[in-house]
Amino acid sequence: MPKLKDIKILPPKGSHWREKAVFYIAVICGLGLFMAKESRVTSYLTDDPQACVNCHVMTPVYNSWMHSSHREWANCNDCHVPHDNVFNKYYFKAKDGLYHASVFTMRAEPDVIEMKEASQEVVQQNCIRCHVQQVTQAKYDGWIEGHSENRLGRQCWSCHKQVPHGKVHGLSTIQNNIAPLPTDSDEMVIPSWLAEAVNKE
């Protein structure tokens, strides 16, 4: 579906969007039930990163994020969804989610996923959203050397290659992909023999 790559995220303008929308609606109708069951669509609307791991293709990025400096502060949506206004947030999410879902459902996922240009723009804005003072204010020079010059023109992760997914990318970069699923909270963290033994006490 090469055309999808051309989508720009910013507010819908003109008939370009309508065309796609029709397509997405079709996707929903066709795969709705399947999706709801298989990928827990409702959880996808939350900010819980575990929602993203419903797809195994998202486990490498989940795991690299989980081991990153941002785990405690920024979840997927903090970076990958626009935060300039509520409308944009959900619009982007819906579009993105449905896009991923359709690619995924058709087993068309590539080995190395790359951010679309639109996503890149969103992420960049989000880096800046959180770090604006650090990267723009000359007065923090003593702390972060060299950010005094305007670095906003480059992608932050061209330097900060580790943030947050690490330098190496691709579906096969993380062995033994094990990531917690939303259902994990229902399960016990102690083996059943031990649970029984302790309960007996």
């Binding site: 690299s64 690490g166 190496v168 033994n176 302790v198």
Partner: protein
């Protein structure tokens, strides 16, 4: 189907049984994690106060011999090294003595609890209280694999799990349910199975006489909360050889102290620093070479801190040095208090005269030990470590002022002469240890009993099946 594929996607070579104790079996499915865990055998790294090298703590600081007079730790105490040595070290330590066979030796079976993945296996087979029962020597042929996969993982899906009842029971006692732990909390809780303060309770209702492993967390994990816990129970680990104080031993309250620090506050877990991600051949995995993060700063610290390695190490050393400065002074004062108390007894002091003083000594040394026993504490939570030592300094001062008055009453109004404890040997001689005998007993054990244990174990394990999986199994 795909959903579970996401959960667990690999081609297992063998199928791993529920309580498989042999790490090499797990290693066939997870070679990278297994190989890296073998690196805990490396003993070449040494830092200011940590590292994987064997470090004889009593030699580095002979005051400890005095502080633990009358207790096993005065015979032998080393700083922890890699997980791969857990079994070897508990065989070798003089603390476990030289048992000649079943039913012999100073230590209970409970000592095995934190040393091996054979433990969950045995507990499952025999029952928990039964596992804790009997002598350490009784289970020598059963516990042979050093700390490993089954201690922390569920073989069905490799999820982290808690296999030690003491931690589960401690959560219960605090009114918490460990099953509610988040994934990230689990990345510290697996360590909290072992890196925690504990004691052996022989008076548990229904289990009288069994040295049952308990974490004294009921009132909380602070030094005061645990002190109160033990005071309320009138529990003591031993009676001091010199001062006759009813003592408490704090063993590595690593998790407890860590929890009070800023890293814990920010959601950083043990695994973040001690088991960071590692890249090998373009693949990332959790480094199971659990060690001092100072041997691995780029993966362990620089993920979060854009700071030079040199400086990060400097930060750590600085906190450790500051803590050590206060700690050593505190130890000097504790040593003095024991020797002064002994002098009082020698001069004919009565129980009544000594009571308060001994309670002070108990509390002061407990607080010192709490701040010292977890070797990482002075970095994990420098401010809490310092606070605890401050409180110990205040209590030991109380003791020593009272001692000065009592000594004067007993006719000795001047400083008490201190023994020469400049080396471990001198200190051990002073407290009356027969080191030659201890070493000889240990040698005999290593020559006679130990080889038998290992033989028996091998025979037993050879009979345990390893089930090869023929094709990629989808679970």
């Amino acid at each position: 189907n795909r959903k579970s594929e996401a959960k667990y996607r690999y081609t297992p070579a063998v199928s791993i049984a529920e309580n498989e104790p042999r790490n090499e079996v797990w290693g066939q499915n997870f070679p990278k994690e297994y190989q890296s865990s073998l690196q805990t055998k490396d003993t070449n790294f040494i830092s200011y106060q940590g590292g994987s090298k064997m470090r004889d703590m009593l030699e580095e600081d002979p005051r400890l011999v005095i502080l633990w007079s009358g207790y096993g730790f005065s015979k032998d105490y080393n700083q922890g090294r890699g997980h791969a040595y857990a079994i070897e070290d508990i065989h070798n330590t003089l603390r476990t003595g030289g048992p000649k066979g079943e039913g012999d030796g100073p230590m209970p079976a409970t000592c095995w609890t934190c040393k091996s993945p054979d433990v969950p296996r045995l507990m499952n087979e025999k029952g928990i209280a039964e596992f804790y029962s009997g002598k350490w020597a009784d289970k020598g042929s059963e516990v042979v694999n050093s700390i490993g996969c089954a201690d922390c993982h569920d073989p069905n899906n490799m999820k982290l799990r808690i296999t030690r009842p003491a931690l589960v029971e401690a959560f219960d006692a605090m009114g918490k349910d460990i099953n509610q732990a988040t994934h990230n909390e689990m990345r510290s809780l697996v360590c909290a199975q072992c890196h925690v303060e504990y004691y052996f309770n022989k008076k548990l209702p229904g289990k009288e006489g069994v040295p049952y492993l308990v974490l004294p967390w009921k009132n909380g994990m602070t030094v005061e909360a645990m002190e109160k816990y033990y005071d309320d129970l009138e529990f003591s680990d031993w009676t001091h050889g010199l001062s006759k104080a009813p003592m408490l031993k704090a063993q590595h309250p690593g998790y407890e102290i860590f929890s009070t620090g800023v890293h814990a506050d920010r959601g950083v877990s043990c695994a973040d620093c001690h088991m960071p991600y590692k890249s090998e051949g373009g693949q990332k995995f959790t480094d199971h070479h659990i060690q001092s993060p100072l041997n691995n700063v780029s993966n362990a610290c620089q993920v979060c801190h854009r700071e030079e390695t040199k400086n990060l190490i400097k930060n750590v050393y600085e906190r450790q040095r500051k803590a050590a400065e206060t700690r050593l002074k505190l130890e000097d004062l504790l040593v003095k208090s024991h020797i002064e108390a002994k002098k009082c007894w020698d001069l004919g002091a009565t129980e009544a005269q000594m009571k308060d003083i001994l309670t002070d000594i108990r509390h002061a040394q407990w607080r010192w030990d709490y701040s010292a026993a977890a070797h990482g504490g002075s970095f994990h939570s420098p401010v809490e470590t310092a606070r605890v030592m401050g409180s110990a300094l205040v209590v030991v001062q109380e003791a020593r002022v009272k001692l000065a008055r009592l000594l004067s009453d007993l006719g000795h109004n001047k400083p008490v002469e201190m023994p020469d404890i400049s080396t471990k040997e001198k200190a051990q001689e002073f407290i009356g240890l027969d080191m030659e005998k201890l070493h000889a007993d240990k040698e005999a054990f290593k020559k006679n009993l130990l080889p038998k244990w290992l033989e028996e174990a091998k025979a037993r394990e050879d009979k345990m099946p390893i089930v090869n999986t023929v094709s990629a199994v989808e679970k």
